[in-house]
């Protein structure tokens, strides 16, 4: 059974296996296909047009399926590996063990933002940035640049308290849980974390930084937490919405999975703490 654990609780062996599986996916070329898919959706999803992966109700089920595919790829390398999550309300500084050299490595250096320690640093050449939007081929970060702050637990709780899953116009202007979690409106949770990390994480090719998966695994857990808190609240919209993935519509690029199929995470994995 797959159990997704808080990254702060991983053993040294679990960290090593996770990192090794990431490096193997990268070496084989499979990793970059995930970056390409994400960027295609982030550039194609628009507020007034077709939208699937972002700025829409299917942001949460789309990323749940995307992470499941990625986790399956990791497992094909090492069956013991599962996706850890990063609770950025708790581990909220660049001194967190998340950013140590035995897991993700730290922030970028001042001159060019280049990450210089850990398994994904340019040294060793095991993590070339090949799917990119500018000329730089090395992983960059700027953790907490300009004094930016990660969301607090109280801010998360204020969003989890929202009863309605999503509202018309079903985009970045919406009220409701989904858009407040995504961050286009209100206290800003998910978007703000991308910006706090900086470097590629702030761009359309954000999965170039392995922290992408740990960030989204926690966003995914917050969806499960919200469901547990609001058992009477359903995914919306239910049907007949132009440009938007309704409950029983299939999602690109898989075309064989609907939001309804993704509502219950427990057939696929559980968390180390009760959702």
């Amino acid at each position: 059974m797959t159990v997704r654990k808080n990254q702060a609780t991983l053993t040294a062996d679990e960290k090593r296996r996770f990192v090794d599986a990431l490096l193997e996916l990268k070496r084989s070329g499979r990793y970059d296909t995930f970056v390409t898919t994400h960027n295609a959706f982030i550039m194609g999803d628009t507020d007034d047009g077709d939208r699937v992966g972002h700025r829409s109700p299917s942001f949460l089920p789309w990323h749940r399926r995307f992470l499941l595919e990625f986790e399956a790829a990791l497992k094909s390398v090492d069956p013991t590996v599962t996706l850890p999550y990063w609770d950025w309300t708790a581990d909220r500084t660049s001194r967190s063990s998340l950013w140590a050299p035995d897991l993700l490595g730290g922030t970028g250096r001042a001159r060019d933002g280049q990450v210089t320690d850990g398994p994904f640093a340019r040294v060793g050449n095991r993590w070339p940035i090949t799917v990119r939007v500018d000329g730089r081929d090395f992983l960059r970060r700027d953790l907490g640049a300009g004094g930016r702050q990660l969301p607090t637990r109280a801010e998360v709780d204020s969003v989890l308290a929202m009863e309605t899953y999503d509202t018309a116009p079903w985009n970045s202007a919406s009220d409701g849980f989904r858009n407040h979690l995504e961050g286009w409106r209100g206290v800003n949770l998910h978007n703000r974390v991308h910006v706090w990390v900086g470097g590629q994480m702030a761009t359309g090719v954000s999965p170039n930084d392995p922290v992408f998966w740990l960030h989204h695994a926690f966003v995914d857990k917050l969806w499960a937490d919200w469901q547990a808190r609001h058992p009477g609240s359903a995914y919306l919209p239910a049907a007949g919405t132009r440009n938007v993935v309704d409950l029983h519509d299939t999602m690109r690029p898989w075309n064989d999975v609907t939001p309804a199929d993704m509502l219950d995470h427990t057939p696929h994995y559980t968390f180390d703490t009760a959702a």
Partner: protein, 125 residues
Amino acid sequence: MSSITRRRALGVAAGAAGAVAVLAHAGPAGAAAPRAAADPASFDEVYQGRRIRGGPAHGGGHHGGHHGGGYAVTVDGRELHVMRNADGTWISVIHHYEPVATPRELARAAVRELRGAPLVPLALG
């Protein structure tokens, strides 16, 4: 290393999105005179040593499809993919999670983030 254009990389996904966007603009809801009137002004300046330009995309051109923007921004002549949010704010492929008020601000922010690096069409290793 081979490289392909963003448009080609978007492939099937963007084709479907573009078709829907075109239909939306052609329909009653897309009688978009207010939208056109609200388009931000063009700009052309040198910022931190780099030429940034912005303005309406040429009709039916590169920007007609995948994001429905109709506004193009370049840095040293190379396209910076930009998108307009429903509330009128803007994001780019360089700053995709942090909206700013205008395309000019977006272009300047991109120049600061690039630290001299050139924009490139989406490159696949």
